[in-house]
């Protein structure tokens, strides 16, 4: 059994090694793109069952964003929705025999965390301005600047490690039990992995929303105050 901490390239494109998480991500991307195009072509005012489920998911994402950020969810819908959907599908890839979830590898989780970190900074600067965003590190006092900077890094790091640890451990445990016991023994653990994967996808998405919301909250307050009564 290969260690999940080690990535072996499946093939090379020039000097670039292509590993399994990348390939699986491409497959997920292709599947999501195909489904999106099909659904987009079949969107009607009288929704089908599939469209109704998709609208329910999109509505739930919008509702969560609106509750956390307290503003229009449209600017954040693409990022948060994609994170939720991708992480959920990636976590559930373990159901397919021979496929390891991309999120069970640190590179994928780091990419997700990195995107969230950059998005948090970008949304914060857009909402508060560059100076306003930098000033937010001095809140409540300038003494907190180092701590806030460290927090900015550590919370992203914890986001990455949390997802990586939960998914990787599930895969690791299932692999160990599968090697020690029979074929059907890991099934309860796999079912548990489904629940864990869904919960981790939700946690990752909601924490990303919270980080973005914290970055833009003062800007949103200022925008709300600027609105005429």
């Amino acid at each position: 059994m290969n260690s999940p901490l080690v990535l072996e390239p499946l093939f090379h494109v020039g000097p670039v090694p292509v590993t399994q998480p990348v390939v699986v991500t491409w497959v997920i991307m292709a599947a999501l793109l195909a489904g999106s195009l099909w659904l987009r072509r079949h969107l009607t005012m009288r929704p089908s069952r599939v469209q109704a489920v998709a609208e329910m998911i999109a509505g739930t994402i919008d509702g969560q964003i609106r509750e956390v950020i307290l503003s229009d969810p449209a600017p954040y819908r693409g990022l948060i929705g994609t994170i939720l959907i991708y992480v959920l599908i990636a976590n559930w890839c373990s159901l397919v025999p021979g496929i390891e979830p991309p999120t069970a590898h640190l590179e994928t989780d780091a990419a997700l965390g990195l995107i969230v970190l950059v998005a948090t900074i970008a949304y914060g600067i857009r909402a508060r301005g560059l100076v306003g965003y930098l000033k937010s590190f001095a809140e409540p006092t300038w003494v907190m600047i180092p701590l806030n900077l460290v927090e900015q890094i550590t919370r992203s790091f914890s986001l990455i490690i949390r997802l990586f640890g939960n998914v990787m451990s599930g895969v690791f445990v299932v692999g160990i039990i599968l090697s020690l016991a029979g074929l059907l023994v890991p099934i309860p653990l796999m079912a548990l992995d489904l629940l864990t994967g869904a919960v981790q996808a939700y946690i990752f998405a909601i924490l990303a929303t919270v980080f973005i919301g914290a970055a833009v909250s003062e800007g949103n307050d200022r925008t709300e105050k600027d609105k005429p009564a």
Partner: protein, 245 residues
């Protein structure tokens, strides 16, 4: 533990592309269709509210029109009733006037007929009385003699005022008999009258069978009757007066 930076970079690019793809091809269209449905639902609700308002407005207009028609109907009925009352009154007045006229005409006609009948009856009665009297006188010839009626005539002259009697004596006097008198009767009558009036008279004699029996003295100033015809006429006049009284 090592990190595959190529994988990290590729996954970052993959995820960024996925964010763009899902945002553009899935989440944005879904949000748009939901918003469109909400807008359509809002539009339908607005249209329904508008239709409801319009229906209520039309209902109120219909109610007002109905009230107006009811008022017009009541006014028309009242006018028709008033006109009918006027026509009825006019017809009644006309009928009443016509009835009054007819009744007055009938009463006048009846009175005329009654008067004619009375006159006819009176005439017949007088004729009958004259006939009866004539028959009686035929059975009692003494009553037809002028001398029998002469005292009554003298008594009537005596009842006249002196001035009247004097004027009678001055003028020509005609003494009418029911039958032609003989000379002795004429002399008796002349002497008696001259005695009663106290002077010689310019007396002429005449005959009128309608007197039936008796005498009639006429002058320019007065007529003194003492005959059956005068008595019968007097009786008839008195009866007429009694009937009318």
């Amino acid at each position: 533990m090592t990190i595959d930076w190529w994988t990290l970079g590729l996954q970052t690019i993959n995820l960024l592309v996925l964010v763009a793809l899902l945002g553009h091809f899935l989440l944005k269209p879904l949000a748009a269709i939901v918003a469109a449905r909400q807008a359509e639902a809002q539009r339908l609700l607005d249209e329904a509210a508008s239709a409801r308002d319009q229906a209520q407005s039309e209902s109120k207009a219909l109610d007002a029109e109905r009230d107006k028609l009811a008022a017009e109907k009541a006014a028309t009925l009242a006018a028709a009733e008033a006109e009918a009352q006027e026509q009825r009154k006019a017809l009644l007045d006309g009928a009443r006037a016509e009835a009054d006229t007819a009744r007055a005409e009938a009463e006048a006609k009846a009175k005329g007929l009654l008067a004619e009948a009375d006159s006819e009856i009176g005439l017949r009665a007088r004729l009958l009385a004259a006939d009866i009297t004539a028959r009686l006188l035929a059975r009692a010839p003494g009553l037809t003699r002028a001398e029998a009626w002469l005292p009554g005539l003298v008594e009537a002259l005596g009842a006249l005022p002196d001035a009247t009697r004097a004027r009678i004596a001055q003028g020509p006097i005609t003494l009418t008999f029911a039958r032609t008198p003989d000379e002795a009767t004429r002399q008796t009558c002349r002497q008696t009258l001259e005695t009663a009036l106290g002077q010689t008279l310019d007396l002429t004699f005449a005959e009128d069978p309608t007197l039936i029996a008796g005498l009639e003295l006429s002058s320019a100033d007065a007529i003194v009757r003492n005959n059956l015809r005068a008595d019968l006429d007097h009786i008839a006049t008195r009866e007429d007066h009694d009937e009318r009284g």
